[in-house]
Symmetry: D3
């Protein structure tokens, strides 16, 4: 028997602004363009949480999707949904909330809740055309 992957899709909405506080306004504007709007803009983020490991022969599950969904709800949805990522979410008070960094923060928050024998990958859709996977 080989390892198997289960994937759970969830969804949240948030406002954000791309900004590096070490740079001046002109550089921020050049690098981040309209994503640097000081009044923020926002997205519907589609999230895929991919967990891999060996099947539990008793249940026929890799892990109970209700438990996985509950971890995502506690660690991500309740924490980021309908929030301003820059102002309301601790990790992004000092970290630029690019799609890449949001995916890494989500990875770390969920990884801490999973048993060590399970591998984790995050796919985050910022729009239907801009997508990030971590780790690659």
């Amino acid at each position: 028997m080989k390892p198997i992957t289960v994937i759970r899709k969830e969804h949240f909405n948030a406002a954000h602004r791309l900004h590096n506080p070490k740079w001046d306004d002109k550089t921020n504007k050049e690098v981040f363009g309209k994503c640097n709007n000081p009044n923020f803009h926002g997205h519907n983020y589609d999230l895929e949480v991919m967990v891999s490991g060996m099947l539990n022969q008793e249940t026929g599950y890799l892990m109970d999707m209700k438990i996985l969904s509950s971890i995502i709800k506690n660690q991500v949805i309740n924490y980021m949904d309908h929030k301003n990522l820059n102002l309301d979410v601790d990790e992004f008070k000092t970290l630029n909330p690019t799609a890449e960094n949001i995916a890494i923060v989500i990875f770390e928050r969920i990884k801490a809740q999973l048993p060590n024998n399970l591998d984790l990958k995050i796919r985050l859709y910022e729009t239907q055309r801009n997508i990030v996977e971590y780790p690659a």
Copy 2:
């Protein structure tokens, strides 16, 4: 020959907050819930612009989709994309930016640019599960 409809899909991202300034904070919180977050949240808005009328037999077009796309770009995308609807868009400085009101504002802005013999309908996806059509 009967009337025909053409539909053009476009996309924009924005931040917003639902809030009625005539109400106190408690009422706003009760009615709008987490959509009332004073720091804003945001969405990927999918927009369908539906135009109806009689076919032009010379071109085989109802209207040139490049012209329709250009009207949408000028009246909606350049005006609302990567913006904070409450702070950056004139109409919503005094109007609550619910999906319903956003659809009505988009309808009025595009209608003013179309010939009178064409009918217009707007479909706006705030999320993949919350959708508005105006007029009904």
Copy 3:
């Protein structure tokens, strides 16, 4: 101001079997084909509930989507999700659970919960290729 429509998408899974008890087995098999399997088959039903009426100027809502979602949950999801429509759902003990009849039953159940000044339409996806709208 013209009427506006809001649309809420929800989802449920169910088993069913197409069968007319007044017909013999041969006729049922001829008319309903593999949908007549006595052991049942099943679907992921995607449901769009479309409500139309005049905008509430105070809230900027046609109706609160949380209330609409709650009506759908009580009348449809809790009632049909993860059920065998023929065996577990009262209406289909004597009514053939075709997509058409499921849409009509959902229409009647939700209509009874809505104020009289709101119009209702149901769109039900039995698969991504077979869809029903009621009323037309």
Copy 4:
């Protein structure tokens, strides 16, 4: 009981070129742009066939979707799929194959096969962003 609508989705691929033979090359190029490429380009066309009428109480069907699917297959898919619309399809030897005209041709071909008491509407996706409905 009110009328009900059933919708069947099908799919075909074809090459085409937009061109009005009464115009000179310069006018064709100005009006149709890159769609006027004399070597043709092509699309995956998604087709929705919407049929409305009164439910058959015996079957619980408006009409048997296998029959509707078979009409679409005979009248549209076998006739247009993997074809060059301008060169291989009779109607477009003298008619410009815009999305609007393709929808009208499909409407006429299917309408001729349906009982008179059923209404018909066609929705054709030329791309995911350019869509036509006939009649409006």
Copy 5:
């Protein structure tokens, strides 16, 4: 030249029930919840069959998609579509038809029909939010 992957999407509908016959009813109900309904429920399963190997330079194909589609039709669609997985499909008479186990059974059935120099992976969508890949 590096290996390439081709992916073919197919679709089937089925009823199922999650149940471990070695456990008592209370344990089955606790672990599988509403998926344990003794009257069954059902799904539209979307299936992606991913085959990898070296390109055939003569045809420009990895393998003929008509042959791959035919293998999927014979091994999966004709075998599982419009069936009750627990009652009608041999493998699941003794194996719990979780999405994980369905993906593994599909993998084994298709793998047996492919040349040894081609690698195989299965992605199965039980719903649009619950997905399985085998092998990981």
Copy 6:
């Protein structure tokens, strides 16, 4: 820190014909079927460009998506959109434009524009049911 992947989706339309000039007409017809139509057919190609590497800590980007989008536009969209692949695109004057070969050509054209420390993968949807990934 581990490598991360960013994915950008783009879209183009084109006509093509599958044909091996070294074979006679009968063999071409047998192998490629209706895809061998000498008058061509066409597709809406959905393209996913996946780039992997180490995050830039200054920007929070793997690479600026505007730059990636610009490379895709220059190397693929402007080069293949609304074209006849066999007649208008140099690479396919001697190479059969199967989905596999189109993906490989796109890979080579984009790879030449990327820094060496970034990995590249292409996913090409010829239809929603026929997909290719290169490299596997």
